[in-house]
């Protein structure tokens, strides 16, 4: 079985996530794009684990899932606080700190 298509797919997902972070305005959507990047990495990790014939990559994917879950907790807490204060989750609105 060739692993190349999976790597290409993961690279495409990573790029979509990356472009999403840079272009989207809503903090929740930006955050979802970050999650997409992490999941693209998961796909790459398990594919390389298959290609290399060892388990390290698969174990890595589990750790990435746990880390992503922890990040959701912290991230949503921060985004919620900002939303309740400003009544907006747009990353463009939070612009007091500059220059």
């Amino acid at each position: 079985m060739s692993t190349e298509p999976y790597i290409v797919l993961s690279a495409i997902l990573f790029t979509i996530g990356c472009v999403g972070v840079l272009t989207r305005r809503n903090a929740i959507v930006v955050f979802m794009c970050v999650e997409l990047m992490l999941n693209a990495s998961n796909l790459a990790l398990v594919t390389f684990a298959k290609a290399n014939g060892n388990l390290e990559g698969q174990v890595g994917a589990f750790f990435v899932m746990v880390v992503a879950a922890a990040e959701v907790v912290v991230g949503l807490a921060i985004i919620m606080t900002i939303f309740r204060t400003r009544r907006s989750a747009s990353v463009d609105d939070a612009s007091l700190l500059k220059y």
Binding site: I7, S10, F14, G17, C18, V21, A27, V30, F31, V34, M37, L38, A40, S41, A44, L45, T47, F48, A51, N52, N54, E56, G57, V59, G60, F63, V64, V67, A70, E71, V74, G75, A77, I78, I79, T81, I82, R84, T85, R86, V91, A94, S95, L96, L97, K98, Y99
Partner: protein, 530 residues
């Protein structure tokens, strides 16, 4: 059926780190079960005892590390190859723990706000509402900051001691997540603080996305995540080099973001300005120490044989970082933003030391290695930054801290001692002889020079001169400008902040006058274990 063999955790070597994590967990339990009035005292005491015990343990472990690799390195790899406890790791642990003690004392400070800490009384209460006023009249405190800080300290200890890419990723997240939350918990100027947390979090998560994808690519190249294995794969030149180079680049993005190097420095000024000053001081000092430790271990151990690929990249990044930091610092009118850009410039100087890496055979005997120089610089940088931010937290008016530079005019007349100490820290950051900053700069420039990176050193010397301008401008402002309006006022802190400042002054002064012992200690730490 795969046979399961029991993993061996070298508890004897890693217990200081586990103790810090244990204290953090105990702190969470205290938060859940202890009544509110005893929480503050319990948390502070618990964290302080934990950090002190971990420091003693680190020293003890450091004293009986076995020599390996023909005496060039000390210590060993433990916890099934996930953690390495060697000389530099122990050195960094000690430094992180000392900075953490200073940070803890700043966190625990309650005199400055009149009986409450600098953290939001109730983070969930919206700014400007009845609930927030009630929380502040009842004198509520978020004592959760202490366990959060301990989790961050644990992550910082794991970061430079990790021996494979996965452990390094987990450590990166364990140290970052609590810091995101802590930056959003300021008692005053809460909108700024929340915005800082949002920016830090989104950009931090973005950079860790790059980091993990880079890990996946390097794993695809080498077939292993362990640093030793990656190094071996590179020297055997097996696998697809495109994967290696792309992976190295992406991992570097993640690490350079954490140390705040240009072009990934954009978050630094915003977060440093918005976060509570105690958090800023702690994070500016300790995160940089941990991240530089991890950066060096990754580059020197895992990518050591690929030096010709990453050294030119670091040349460019170091030059860019120093220029961006020094030039933008000149334009700042907020003291915390200025210190943030100054820390960006310091990142550039530290990178100058990192790119001075040479193999042992290229060094003449008695010459300091780049690892030694960077470790020394981290000590000087850590203490003067912590001290400087502690001073910033003391200059206040009725609305809290006054961070605008114009309000600092005439501080020398109002409080000669505070202004004098701050001026001393600034002179040290500028690298004036007889302060720690000078010795640190001299060390990193010397190693870069001996590695043939003279263009970087030339830029570094020029930017040091440029940086001296904005440091001296603040000193001139404090001593020779007339105060505007009522003038700045200094709130006297409790003994906690005073101890932190004293620690900073003592370290900066001693390392400037007698740098020998710490330089020897850094040399004694030896090389990274490969």
């Amino acid at each position: 059926m795969i046979e399961f063999s029991k993993p061996v955790i070298g508890y004897a070597e890693v217990w200081p780190m586990l103790l810090v994590f244990g204290v953090a967990c105990a702190g969470v339990l205290v938060e859940a079960f202890a009544p509110r009035r005893v929480r503050y005292a319990t948390q502070v005491l618990l964290a302080l005892v934990g950090l002190a015990a971990a420091f003693v343990g680190t020293v003890m472990i450091g004293l009986d590390l076995n020599e390996t690799a023909g005496g060039a390195a000390k210590g060993g790899i433990t916890a099934e190859g996930a953690i390495v406890v060697d000389g530099p790791a122990i050195f960094l642990w000690g430094l992180i723990l000392l900075i953490a003690v200073g940070g803890l004392l700043l966190f625990a400070e309650r005199e400055l706000e009149g009986g409450v800490s600098a953290f939001a009384g109730q983070a969930a209460a919206l700014p400007g509402t009845e609930a927030e006023r009630e929380a502040s009249t009842r004198g509520l405190d978020h004592t959760e900051v202490f366990p959060l800080m301990m989790f961050a300290v644990g992550g910082m200890m794991l970061f430079p001691a990790s021996n494979d890419l996965l452990t390094m990723f987990v450590a990166l997240e364990v140290l970052s997540l609590p810091l995101y939350l802590l930056s959003g918990l300021a008692r005053r100027r809460r909108l700024l603080s929340q915005e800082a947390a949002l920016k830090y979090f989104l950009l931090g998560a973005f950079s860790s996305g790059f980091f993990i994808y880079g890990i996946a690519l390097v794993y695809g190249y080498a077939g292993t995540m362990e640093f030793g294995g990656i190094n071996e794969a590179i020297s055997n030149n097996t696998g697809n080099r495109t994967l290696l180079l792309a992976g190295m680049g992406l991992i570097s993005v993640g690490l350079l973001f954490k140390v705040g190097a240009a072009p990934f420095q954009a978050w630094t000024p915003d977060v440093y300005q918005g976060a509570p000053t105690a958090v800023t001081g702690f994070m500016a000092a300790a995160t940089k120490v941990a991240a530089f430790g991890a950066l060096m271990r990754l580059y020197y151990v895992a990518f050591g044989n690929e030096r010709w690929s990453w050294q030119p990249m670091l040349w460019v990044i170091a030059i860019l970082t120093m220029l961006v930091g020094a030039l933008l610092a000149i334009a700042q009118s907020d003291i915390k933003r200025m210190l943030a850009y100054s820390s960006v410039a310091h990142t550039g100087f530290l990178l100058t030391g990192v790119l001075g890496a040479q193999s042992a055979s290229e060094l003449s005997s008695g010459e300091i290695t780049s690892l030694q120089a960077v470790l020394f610089y981290l000590v000087t940088y850590g203490f003067m930054t912590l001290g400087a931010f502690a001073i910033v937290s003391m200059v206040r008016d009725a609305g809290g801290e006054t961070n605008h530079l114009s309000r600092w005019a005439g501080l020398g007349k109002e409080s000669p001692i505070v202004a004098g100490i701050f001026a001393f820290f600034l002179l040290s950051m500028a690298g004036i002889p007889l302060t720690a900053g000078f010795t640190g700069k001299w060390a990193v420039f010397a190693v870069a020079m001996s590695a043939g990176a003279w263009p970087v050193v030339v830029v570094a010397v020029l930017t040091s001169a440029l940086a001296a301008f904005f440091y001296v401008r603040v000193i001139v402002l404090m001593y020779f400008a007339d105060p505007v309006g009522a003038g700045p006022s200094v709130t006297l802190p409790s003994v906690l902040t005073a101890v932190t400042i004293a620690l900073g002054v003592a370290a900066t002064l001693l390392l400037g006058i007698v740098p020998g012992p710490v330089l020897d200690l850094a040399a004694h730490a030896g090389e990274f274990i490969r």
